[in-house]
């Protein structure tokens, strides 16, 4: 049957402007030109505007003396002797501190809430649902302002501090705790504890191998606890406790001694942990629901108790689903810690994009550095996540 096209003729020619390849190249060129023009005119305007405002560009300010104080510093810092670069590191460390602690608290609370929402106990599941629905639907900034202004700042003044057991005081300057002071020999104690932890990891690996080989389980948790606690306890009993506590003393008007947890830090940590926990709860719940019901039923049929089933059967399988969104919640918490600027906790944004930017006026450089820091944290985490995902992905036929 003939199609009406004589054999050997070339296909009908398409006008060159209808050729998809030509079009694609043209579109891409046009896009590059537009973006190039936008970038060029932005840079051009920036140079003109900066010159008019007499602002030097470049990163020379990094080594200039900062000249301002920071209320919480993890590394040595003074307003006269330290540079803007040093202030940057102080801010970054403060951000990382609050993010790390926030992640720990939010994870513990979030798993509790997520498992609680699926509890067969009606009161527990309703209470957890209520928590999630309330906290998720109120902006984090409002929660931070509430904890800071309405709760912590409304505490009594130093003179009328609440006295808690163990020489802990609570007032509107924060939480004042006894400060441990080393008496020599504390290094050895920490070394013993570290050795215990390493030994526990080794035991864990050995136990896992043995379980895969023989099916027998070893009480790793008990062994580990023993390995960490017993040597430390023996050491303390033999040589005495290597720490003295500098107890806060109630003076006439003031409290002296001890270590202070600033209300800004406490409010930020509290707000971030409670807020992120609600989201983590949802992630955990979704992960547990993703494990097929048959897994838990099979475990019950074998006679495992609900707690053991959850710990050994359901959660390990749920983790595969939980971990990717959990990581993005951790990233959210880290990024949200930048709201510190609203309540005056000296994090990276407050110190650098706030004070340093105002003092130097070098908006482009300062904002670029700040964004680069968060971007690096995000990209490194998502890279690690991709590696994890490819290792954990279910191997199917």
């Amino acid at each position: 049957m003939s199609l009406g096209i004589p054999a050997g003729t070339a296909p009908a020619r398409v006008a060159f402007y209808n050729d998809p390849k030509v079009r694609s190249v043209a579109y891409q060129l046009a896009l590059c030109v537009v973006i190039g023009f936008v970038v060029y005119s932005a840079a051009d305007n920036a140079i003109v505007n900066l010159r008019r405002a007499h602002i030097a560009s470049g990163f020379g300010f990094w080594n200039n003396t900062a000249g301002f104080d920071i209320s919480q510093t993890l590394i040595e810092y003074s307003s006269q002797g330290s540079t803007y670069g040093r202030a940057f590191w102080v801010g970054l460390l403060n951000t990382l501190l609050v993010a790390a602690l926030g992640i720990i608290f939010a994870t513990i609370l979030g798993f509790t809430i997520g498992i609680g929402r699926l509890s067969r106990n009606w009161l527990v599941s309703r209470a957890c649902t209520g928590y999630v629905e309330t906290i998720r639907n109120i902006p984090l900034l409002l929660q931070l302002l509430f904890w800071y202004n309405a709760v912590l700042k409304a505490l009594p003044e130093t003179r009328d501090s609440f006295t808690l057991p163990l020489h802990i005081f609570l007032n509107n300057r924060g939480l004042i705790l006894p400060k441990p002071v080393g008496q020599g020999g504390e290094g050895l104690l920490w070394l013993l504890i570290l050795a215990g932890i390493i030994a526990t990891v080794i035991v864990h690996v050995w136990a896992k191998r043995r379980q895969e080989r023989t099916g027998e389980r070893a009480p790793v948790f008990l062994i580990g606890a023993g390995l960490v606690i017993v040597p430390a306890l023996v050491y303390v009993l033999l040589t005495g406790f290597p720490y003295n506590f500098d107890l806060p003393q109630r003076g006439r008007f003031n409290l002296t001694g001890g270590v202070e947890v600033a209300p800004e830090f406490a409010a930020l940590l509290l707000g971030l942990s409670l807020y992120t926990a609600a989201f983590i709860g949802e992630v955990v719940r979704a992960g547990i629901l993703a494990v097929s019901r048959g897994q838990a039923e099979a475990a019950y049929a074998l006679g495992l108790r609900p707690g053991v089933t959850l710990r050994l059967i359901v959660l390990p399988q749920a983790m595969r689903v939980i971990i990717p969104p959990l990581t993005s919640q951790y990233l959210n918490l880290t990024k949200n810690s930048s709201l510190a600027v609203a309540i005056g906790y000296p994090d990276l944004v407050q110190v650098f994009t706030g004070t340093v930017l105002n003092q130097t006026g070098q908006a482009v450089e300062v904002v670029a550095i700040t964004m680069a820091v968060y971007l690096t944290i995000s990209l490194v985490t998502s890279l690690a996540m991709n590696v994890y995902n490819s290792r954990m992905a279910l191997v199917e036929r």
Binding site: S24, Y27, Q28, L31, C32, I35, A42, N45, A46, V48, N49, L50, S119, R120, N121, W122, L123, V124, A127, E133, T134, R136, N137, I138, P139, L140, L141, L142, L145, F146, N149, A150, A154, K335, N336, S338, L339, V341, A342, V349, T353, L357, A363, V364, V367, T370, M371, Y374, L375, S378, L379
Partner: protein, 388 residues
Amino acid sequence: MTMSEGDLAVIELHFVRQTPLGPRPAPASMTGAVGWLRQNLLSTPFNIALTIVIALLLVWVIPELLKFLVIDAVWTGADRDACREAVQHRPIGACWPFVWERLPYFTYGSYPLDQRWRVDTFFVMLAVGVFWMLWLEAPRRDLGALYFFIVLPVTSFILLHGFAAVGLPVVDTVLWGGALVTIVVASVGIVVSLPLGILLALGRRSQMPTVRLFSTIFIEFVRGVPLVTVLFMASVMLPLFVSEAYSPDKLVRALIGIALFASAYMAEVVRAGLQAIPKGQFEGAMAVGLSYWQMMRLVVLPQALKVTIPNIVNTCIGLFKDTTLVFIVGIFDFLRTIEVSRIDPKWATPVTSTTGYAVAAIFYLVFCYSMSRYARAMEARLGKGDRR
């Protein structure tokens, strides 16, 4: 006639029930309120302990909350004396007269008194648009989309900002504030981010490497940094990047920041929807000779957007909460008006802050919770077709 053994069996059978007994009711301890309690609250010792702890917590929290918000609250008064324990000689809860007096400020900010009808008209027009878009059986939803994405933005701008030619005096955005600003920022964010997000999502899945590269860089960059820094960038760096004559005002800068930020998140949500469309749909559309945009508009996007509606609404909830961050770059949104009012000396009492924050919490809770209910209803509705 003697009885045979067979007859005896028949007679005996008359004493046996012919029909099975009905099921007996479950023991009283397993049914009704008692059974429910045993099964749901008191099944194991651990559960009993949990129940007691939670019950104690609720017994402690709920009465305290009620006492603060209703029982001990002050309902009328002229100034702070009405809400001070030292003056009233009784425990004081929420200070509502503070809220009554400040309510216009919370709603309109410093918008001129005689022009506030314009804001009210805007609220009504927006409500009509939102209702038209969200109610899936509404008539002429195509007109609704036109109204929501084109007519509404233009008329709202003329109405709120003013336009001398139609006799509306210009109201500087510095005077805008309160719920007005919150709602304007959220709506601009949604109206801009949805189309822009769709474009970016298509760009990220494009065959053209440069388009894909630029879209991916933009999306990953914006998603990798906190909104606070994007807002800082918009408010301090944007004026540097444009020549002084066109320098946008403060509110517009924040709007640009929020809209770009929301677009990146919207793009990822739409991309997830695009990925859920089977390849055959694309191939089928191309086979019948549709161009790229016809294929997207008529075949792919209607299906992709349908499955992502719940996620789009969730992104909108996030956006609505994130509008509070414009507070940090000095714009008087709803939260900022409360923050400013609570330190007003006229109403300075120990309970003013808490009252203000309670109002803000209720405001955001009502909006976000209703949106999330809508998303959930939508999810259930869309899932109907897939349930067997």
